[in-house]
Subunit: 188 residues, 2 copies
């Protein structure tokens, strides 16, 4: 990603769309589909976006002469797996408010990594896309935003976001009594 933003999504068996990721500048997407020369995910830009294509064939060829490249590729794939599993944990064990807070903080952190403001930013995605990604409905997303604003955690105006009390959001995520759903098997 050079600039702009992209969402990736796949269509499940019954034609329903499932958003699988949002990508911001500096990030790479499209790691699926290397298995079968065929991408499970589609991707669309959510705003004016410029990207840099990396032809996999050439990358592969290059890696025969520079072995460190394939090592790096594998690292990136592995990172993708880890971030997917974070999302799994988020979806499996957290409430609607926690999920939205997580997403906002994730975006904030990723913007900071690009030396952009981590407290004031514009969400590239619609409420519908957020809700789909986080496994909830549009209404719940909207209500969660309103709730956060009432609580003075942030200010929201359409897609413009200003994070006011990041610690409060942080704490919300890692909160007690928050749908623990913990497996209770003793160790082996």
């Amino acid at each position: 990603m050079r600039s702009g933003s992209v969402k990736s999504y796949c269509i499940d068996n019954e034609g329903r769309e499932q958003v699988t990721g949002f990508y911001l500048p500096g990030e790479i997407f499209g790691w699926d589909g290397l298995a079968e020369n065929y991408h499970q995910n589609a991707a669309v830009a959510m705003e004016t976006t410029s990207i840099c294509e990396i032809p996999y064939g050439q990358l592969e060829q290059l890696s025969t002469t520079i072995p460190s490249i394939q090592k790096h590729v594998i690292k990136l794939l592995s990172k993708e797996i880890n971030s997917d599993q974070k999302l799994i944990a988020l979806l499996a064990g957290n409430s609607a408010h926690q999920r939205l807070a997580s997403l906002l903080l994730s975006i904030s952190a990723r913007l900071a990594q690009q030396k952009l403001s981590s407290t004031r930013f514009r969400l590239p995605m619609s409420r519908g896309e957020i809700s789909n990604y986080l496994g909830m409905t549009v209404e719940t997303v909207s209500r969660a935003f309103s709730h956060f604003q009432r609580k003075k955690y942030l200010k929201v105006n359409k897609k413009e976001i200003e994070l006011i009390d990041k610690p409060a959001l942080q704490q919300l995520i890692s909160n007690p009594e928050a749908r623990s759903i913990t497996s209770q098997r003793s160790g082996y």
Copy 2:
């Protein structure tokens, strides 16, 4: 995996355990952690299990002489990503009954791949592990099993499962009015 079964899980920020996968004979696990020489996931056997270790360093070295190996590694990593994203879709867009049905059918299919019975099998994991993996509570898992049994979709006796009406389970997953949560953005 040679024989037996393993679960992988990670510990989130607040010490809660999140099961990220179940592994059956013929499968490979541990693809995370290649990024940082450090595994995000832990893994424990759920029963007597024998596995075959693949030292990554040796694999890496071997791939310098046999390039097709790294291609294969990348394929497997990519598959892992795809299966993780299936789980994401499952968690994001499906009801409790649908999630359990999906898991049962997935196990059934994977057993079939190993030429084992796909209709009668023993679940290696506890109800608690299932509930954690699927993002629900133990009680809900238990009730879902009872429900399926009442509906004559399967027979369940502790961990022994007999699938009677697989098509019904299939249809349950890909059902109408099933929590669509569909993003409604027009195409680009």
